[in-house]
Structures are given as C-alpha cells and as structure tokens.
C-alpha cells in the first residue's frame, strides 16, 4: 500500500476537477492531488470536438480539447499531482481515500476532498423501452467517444431518441461523417437541449425533430433493424394508431445524465433526489464535513463555463477547510424550490453574504418574475423575460445576518408577471 497525505484531494480530473484543483492551489493549498480513472485529463472534453466552450468565461469559442488544454496547462504549471488511470475504490468519514492503479493500492489521507466524478448517461432501461435486445444501441456519449477518440463509426442509418445536447451534437456529427440521421425523437413538446443546438445541429442540416413522440418498440434479432415511434398525449402515453416504423441500423440514446455518486452514497453523504447530486451548502460542502462537490456530480450543468465557475469555489472552500481543524456547527437554513422551480443548488445556507444560487425551472415560460423569499420577506425580485428548463439560471442573493438568524427556509419561485 502506497501512503500519501495531501491538503486537498480531487476525485475526477474532468473540467470540474481541474478547475477545483487549480483554484485550490491558487488559494494556498500546498499539496493537491487529482485522481482520475482515465489515461488523460479533461474527462469528456477531449471527445467534444465541436466549439462553443468557454464563450461566457473567456469570450472566445473553444473546442472541448482546447478548453481542457487550458486547464491542464494551468494544473501542470502549478505542480498539481495527477494520478491517472487510477480508480478510487472508497473513502471514509476521516477522509482517507483508497485508490488503485497499475503501481498498486494507495491510501491517501486528505485535509479536504472535492468530489468531481461527473455523470453517466441514462440507458434504454432508465425508460424501459420494450422490444428485443439487439446490437447497435448506444448512448450518445459512447457513440461520440467511438467516433472522435477511437476512429470507429457505430452505424450508418441512425435514429436518435432524446433531444439532450449530446444527442443534438451527435446528430450533426454523424451527418458530417456521412451517416443518414433519420430524425431525433423527443417525448416533450420542446427540445431538452439548448435552443442554439437545435438551430445549429438540426435545423441547419434538415434533420427532423419529432416532438411529442417516443419510441415504443425496438426490433432486430441480432443488429437493430427498426424502431416504432408513436405520438404521445399530454400524459406522455403513446396514442394508439399513430405508430410508425422506421428502419435503421443504429439507435442513439440521449436521455439525460445521472450524477455519478456511488462513492458519495457509500460514505453516507445525503443526496438530493431531484438533482441526483449531494446536498450542499453555499460553500458547496456536502453533509459530510470537509467533503465538497462540484461539476456534474453535483448537478448536471449545461455549459462548462458555469461549471468551472462553481468548481473553482469548491476548490477555494476546500482549501480553507483543509487548513481549519473543526467544523463550526451552525444551524442550516434550507433553500426550497417553490412554484415553477425544479431544484435549487445549494440546498443549505448557514452564513450571510452574497450567495450564488443555481436552479432550473419546471417548464418553458415567458414574462416571469423570479422571487427569493424568506418567509414573507422578499430578498430578491427579478423580471425574467423567458425561462427554459434547458437553461440553468444562476443568480446571486444577498443574505443578511438577520435572515440567517431568523429564517427557517428560503424559497425560490417563478411567478407570472
């Protein structure tokens, strides 16, 4: 067993882990380690060869690999230790991590831990699509990695289920490589990816988007041969008589992402049932003392820019924590999603000051008012011309010491104008 002791250990070397580690170092942490299971840093970014990364953060539109490169260089300059091809098997409440790579087993004692494990894609079985179980069914991200990293085309005649961003990007990518993209099927009345991706990836290439539709059956004895699509009613149940068969040899699934939190659950960190990520306070600290969370394992972000911004805060607070000995026990105020709001991160707050809140709305809506309430007191009121579940909202709220002392909950709501 190889033993190590560090100030901040970051689990996951994707964009969130990199930003958190760089930030930890900048805020004075001496010994920072990133542990990642891949042989490279940057997580999913190297396979995202389209551009659009970093626009909000740097004003320049970068490709995924370019964006990753920026942070990898920073990490290298700052002498952050990186353990690649290394899998964290477990960690415990005393923040001792057990990891393994080809050199052996590691025992890493950390002053603070930043969780940045990212997320995984939902599969066919998350939505239980009936039919046979042939080959040729891939999640969109797996197909993306085969095409862009492994130089392998999964198929020729492709149907995409789900209009998440990865699905939309992949529709265009496959088209570029000569595949027939027969359509994107979406059960909701609107696309679930960013509006700009619908325009740039589907409309610009005449790829049909079947809204209010779903796949009701998969056929094919060995390789997938066809899917049946059907229109759905307002309860998302297929409408009899609207079924249509489409021949294909490949089905890509873009059904959304699930934060990866097996390690967090194993050690007893509380998970928000809506976000699938740990419950955190304004410092992004989880319910386990000294363990912070950021990136897509906290909540699924829609742009890497916003993700990095929050991840840096996690790195900063983890560094503060690593230098302190004990948690100052304070009563937490819960932040609750109110009308029109699906979830809010952070879920807890225990300190006054400017606090960034990120949240998603339930449904697309126009002419709304965002309100943050502490009981009857309105802490913030902001007009929002347009809100959409695909676009995460980030606001800062000034929370006074009095509010912290008196309020039990804060509520975020979306009201009609």
């Amino acid at each position: 067993m190889i033993s190590k002791s560090v100030d901040v250990a970051v689990i996951g070397g994707g964009p969130a882990g990199l930003a958190a580690a760089v930030s930890a170092k900048q805020h004075g942490a001496k010994h920072v380690v990133i542990i990642d299971r891949n042989s490279w840093l940057g997580g999913i970014l190297p396979q995202c060869i389209h551009d659009g990364f970093g626009v909000e953060e740097t004003g320049v539109s970068l490709t995924g690999p370019e964006y990753a490169e920026k942070y990898v260089e920073m990490a290298e300059k700052q002498d952050i230790q990186v353990l690649k091809e290394t899998m964290v098997l477990q960690f415990d409440k005393s923040k001792e991590i057990i990891a393994v790579n080809k050199k052996g087993l590691y025992k890493i004692k950390a002053g603070a831990i930043v969780l940045a494990m990212g997320c995984r894609e939902k599969t066919r079985w998350n939505v239980l699509i009936p039919g046979s179980r042939p080959s040729g069914i891939y999640t969109a991200g797996v197909a993306q990695s085969f095409i862009n990293l492994y130089n392998i085309m999964p198929g020729k005649n492709v149907i995409i289920l789900g209009s998440g961003d990865v699905g939309l990007i992949m529709a265009r990518r496959l088209k570029f490589e000569g595949a027939n993209v027969l359509g994107v099927v979406e059960i909701l009345p609107y696309a679930s990816g960013l509006p700009r991706n619908v325009v740039q990836c589907l409309n610009d290439y005449d790829i049909p988007l079947f809204l209010n539709h779903t796949i009701t059956c998969i056929d094919g004895k060995e390789r997938i041969e066809q899917v049946t699509i059907a229109q759905v009613d307002e309860h998302m149940h297929p409408i009899a008589g609207t079924e249509k068969q489409i021949s294909c040899d490949t089905l890509l699934l873009s059904l959304g992402l699930t934060p990866e939190n097996e390690l967090s659950k194993n050690v007893g960190i509380e998970i928000d049932s809506v976000t699938g990520g740990p419950i955190v306070n304004q410092m992004l600290e989880t319910t386990l003392d000294g363990v912070f969370a950021c990136g897509n394992c906290l909540q699924v972000y829609d742009t890497v820019d916003m993700l990095s911004l929050d991840a840096k805060r996690a790195g900063e607070h983890a560094t503060e924590k690593a230098s302190l000995q004990k948690r100052k026990q304070k009563s937490n105020i819960r932040i609750i999603p109110g009308d029109g709001v699906r979830y809010v991160v952070p879920q807890l707050v225990d300190k006054s000051g400017m606090i960034p809140l990120t949240f998603r709305v339930e449904k697309p809506k126009e002419n709304t008012i965002l309100r943050v309430l502490a009981g009857d007191e309105e802490l913030l009121r902001k007009k929002m011309r347009w809100v959409n579940p695909a676009n995460m909202v980030r606001i800062e709220v000034d929370i006074s010491a009095e509010t912290i002392a008196s309020a039990e909950t804060l509520k975020v709501i979306i009201d009609d104008c």
Binding site: R37, E85, K102, W125, F146, Y150, I152, M153
Partner: protein, 488 residues
C-alpha cells in the same frame, strides 16, 4: 472431413452438461453451437432456479430428473466453482381455496421424495418475509438459485479443458445417417460422428426432421421478466411463488432473488409463432409488475431497471393444456440419434441428471473408459472486488493489469477481462465477457467499459473492429472506421 465419436448439437445447459460428463471419458466429442457462446438461448434467459421437484407429476421424467439433478448441485457448485445459494421458496396461498393447492403440492412433493416440506400460517411467513402477506404458505427449503449462464459456461469450459471440441457459430444444416455413422453438414464444413445427441432446444424438431419424420410439434412459449435494482434486494429473502397456474403448464409469475441482489419478476407465459421472437412488450411489463405487486404490495415502480425474455420449448400446445413430459430417448428409426425433446423448466435443475442418463444410452453403443488425466476445476476464483485490500495489493504488485479497473460499476479489472476473453471455448463477444466477469452488467450498462473492452479486444486479441459483436454472429457492433488511417 473430421471424425468424432459423439456429436452434440446445441451448447445450452443440456448439451454442455453432456459434454462435461463425456469429457471424463476417452471419447472424441464435438459440440456444435450456432450462437457465439454457450448458453445463448433458453439456458441464459430463465429464472435461474434450482427446483425441488414438487411441481411435476410423480413418475414423470420431469419429476425424476429434477429431484436427481437437485441432489447433485451442491457438489457441482463446489467443484465447478459457480455461485449457488439454497434460498428456499414459499408458495403462497391467498385463501382457503388456494390452500388446497398447497396440500396437493405437498403430497406430490412427498411422493417425489422432496424432503422437509411444511405448510405454515401466514403470520409465521410474515416473520420471515415481512413484505409478503398471505393466508398460508408451503415452505420448500430444497430450492436454490444460480446464474444459469455461469453454470453452463462452467460446464462447457471445463469440458473444453478436457478436450471436448466446441465449435461456436456453427449451425447444423443437414444430417445424414450412413451405415454406422452420421454425416453432419454445417455452415462451417462437414463432420462425421457415430452418435448424435440432439440437444438443440427449440430447434430439436428441425434436427429430427433432417433424418426422419418427427412425431411431435414444438410450441414456443415466451416468458418475459423484469429485473429490479440491487437497492431493493431486501424486499424478499426467499423465492415467492403463487400457486401454479393450472392451464398453461407453467408455475406463474414469481419473485426470485439473485445472488448479486437483483430481484427477478416473471416469467409470463405466452404461446408465440416465432421461436426467435425474444421481445419484451409494454403490456407484459405492466402485467408482470401488477402481479408482483399483488404478492409484494411495497414494490415501487422505479425499482425496475431492465427486462428480458426467454422462450420455452414446449411439446404441448396451449389448447391441450401446455403440459407435456420430457422425451429423452434414442430414435426408434435412426439408431444412434439420441433426442432430448421438450426440455423446458425444470430443465436447468434436471440437466446434470439428464446428462448421466444420456451417458447410459451412449454406453450401449461404445465402451466408455475413464480418463486418468481428467482435470476437474476446483472451486471459484474470487473477483478483485471481493478481495481484502491486502490480497488486491499483492495481485497488482505481481501483475499491473489487476490495477486497471475497466468496469467501474462492478469494479472489474483489465486482468479479469483478459481472462474472460481467453476462455477455452473461444467465445469473444461483448456478452461473452459480460457473462464471465460481469463487466458491463452494472448501472451504466457498459457506458464506461465498452470502449476499454473494445481496445483490449483489438490490442491483445487482434480482433478487428469489423469482427466485434455483441452476442451472436450477426450482432455486429460497428460499421467501419470513421476515417481511414494512412501509415506513414
């Protein structure tokens, strides 16, 4: 043309069990399997239950081989190294009317020599199974669970290590009886054998019809299953069965724990025209869930994480009641053709006993001499994830491939994937890896490990991307290279 003494058609659990028995003797044996691995059909897709023998009429072959097979499993599991657990089963009666059926089953069981059967009050059952409510239940302790594919693979691999030749992806397309020999035509060439064992499962009639007019029909009957997430493993401790459905010759939708903690719900019973139609359907998924909820009211909908189906090989039609006994016999018209017909449930349990019976039939045609160099596999190899840290650490020190986790959900290492791909049968599909070491079986369903396994197949086994498949000869994984790479 290659000559064998015995040719077995079908690498399911029956064919593999016979191959394994024969591998102990000095006989030249070949197994033809049209799938890309053994256990590709019904042997893979069933409940994985080792039955006690209370469900089949006394004096039937089903009862006889089930009870005999059951008594062999503990030793088999210990030597072949597959996982096996005596979890026991409850057959629950909801009312007095159904209680009569419990008594009937108990009497059949006693007549079939099934030990330790007991009818117990609902209140007592609830103490053992807090999520199940019933009026009374029959307790059957001699029922167990295995992974059916793990058992079949263990039999076949140990047979292969003892020189039985397995020809995968080889479909028998013709059979001719010559004077003392059979000529076997396959899509990979022709072979000769003295004895042919027809263990072709659903295709058993097709094989018979190659040499004679079959005197039976096969009625495919599909059974669908739901799989529950491991998080719900504590819902039950033992198998929970309703009293059997009388009409269809099946046991009814039951709830079965698995060794890894996923609970199975099913199977349904639906006679279908196409024996290869292994579909799951929306209607049946909801029916299964509804029926399971009647047994376990606390069952949450979100617990369901997957579904599959398997096809039973029945010799009786729906109209005639769906029940027929096995036929285990040498053809009256074609000497040397041993037919194993209609081997449906409890076929998994019966397999080792049927194999012994077939040995007797073969020994009438040839002298069977024991090998003295038979290599018996002894026990199960622990997975990396099951080892204590010290043992893991030592392994990585000796071989770095143990330090590379390929499947994160199940924590399977590169060394384990390589071992799976090095199997003596030459099975090289993605499913062959999955069923041998569990890589790809976890929650992400291969999202992380598929790329790694593909890389290992390419780099260490020289499998081209055109030849990679999911589970069967034509279930190809990829279309082509994205771009042609020019060597500089």
């Amino acid at each position: 043309m290659k000559n064998f003494q015995v040719a077995i058609i079908g690498g399911g659990v029956i064919g593999s069990a016979i191959a394994w028995e024969l591998s102990k003797y000095k006989v030249d044996v070949v197994v033809f399997e049209m799938g890309s691995d053994v256990a590709s059909g019904a042997s893979k897709a069933n409940s994985g239950v080792i039955h006690s023998g209370i469900n089949s009429p006394t004096d039937s072959l089903k009862a006889r081989f089930c009870v005999e097979g059951n008594s062999m499993f503990q030793t088999l599991a210990d030597t072949l190294g597959f996982q096996f657990k005596w979890v026991g089963k409850w057959i629950i009666a909801k009312n007095q009317h159904e209680e009569k059926e419990l008594n009937r089953l108990q009497n059949v069981g006693i007549a079939n020599n099934v030990p330790y059967l007991k009818v117990i009050d609902g209140s007592e059952v609830e103490k053992k199974e807090p999520n199940v409510s019933c009026y009374k239940a029959l307790w059957v302790p001699t029922a167990g669970i295995i992974f059916p594919y793990e058992f079949t693979i263990a039999l076949a691999e140990n047979a292969a290590e003892n020189n039985v030749k397995f020809l995968l992806e080889t479909k028998v397309i013709g059979l001719k009886k010559q004077r003392n020999n059979f000529e076997i035509l396959t899509d990979k060439g022709n072979f000769q054998a003295q004895i042919v064992v027809n263990a072709a499962g659903l295709n058993c009639r097709e094989i018979v019809s190659m040499v004679e007019e079959p005197d039976f029909q096969v009625y495919p009957c599909r059974g669908e299953y739901l799989i529950l997430d491991k998080n719900y493993s504590s819902l039950i401790n033992s198998m929970i069965y309703p009293v059997p459905v009388k009409e269809l010759g099946v046991l009814g939708v039951h709830i079965t724990p698995t060794i890894e903690g996923n609970i199975l719900i099913g199977p349904s019973a639906e006679f279908i025209g196409d024996a290869e139609d292994k579909r799951t359907t929306k209607e049946m998924m909801s029916t299964l869930f509804k029926e399971a909820k009647e047994i376990i009211p606390a069952l949450p909908k979100k617990a369901v994480i997957s579904a599959y189906s398997g096809i039973r090989c029945k010799l009786a039609s729906e109209k005639s009641g769906g029940w027929a006994d096995y036929r285990i016999e040498e053809s009256k018209h074609t000497t040397g053709l041993i037919n194993l017909l209609g081997i449906e449930s409890p076929g998994l349990t019966a397999a080792p006993a049927i194999a012994r019976e077939v040995m007797k039939m073969i020994s009438k045609h040839m002298e069977l001499q024991k090998k003295n160099n038979f290599k018996l596999k002894k026990g199960r190899i622990k997975r990396f994830s099951e080892m204590p840290l010290k043992e893991q650490s030592d392994l990585v020190k000796n071989d770095e491939r143990w330090g590379r986790i390929v499947c994160r959900c199940e924590q399977i290492t590169e060394a384990e994937v390589i071992n799976a791909l090095s199997n003596p049968l030459g099975a090289r599909s993605l499913s062959a890896v999955k069923y041998r070491c569990r890589a790809g079986m976890g929650r992400c369903q291969g999202g992380f490990c598929t790329q790694h396994i593909v890389r290992i197949m390419e780099e260490q086994f020289n499998i081209g991307i055109d030849d990679m498949k999911l589970k069967s000869p034509k279930s190809y994984l990829f279309e082509k290279r994205t771009r042609e790479v020019k060597d500089d």
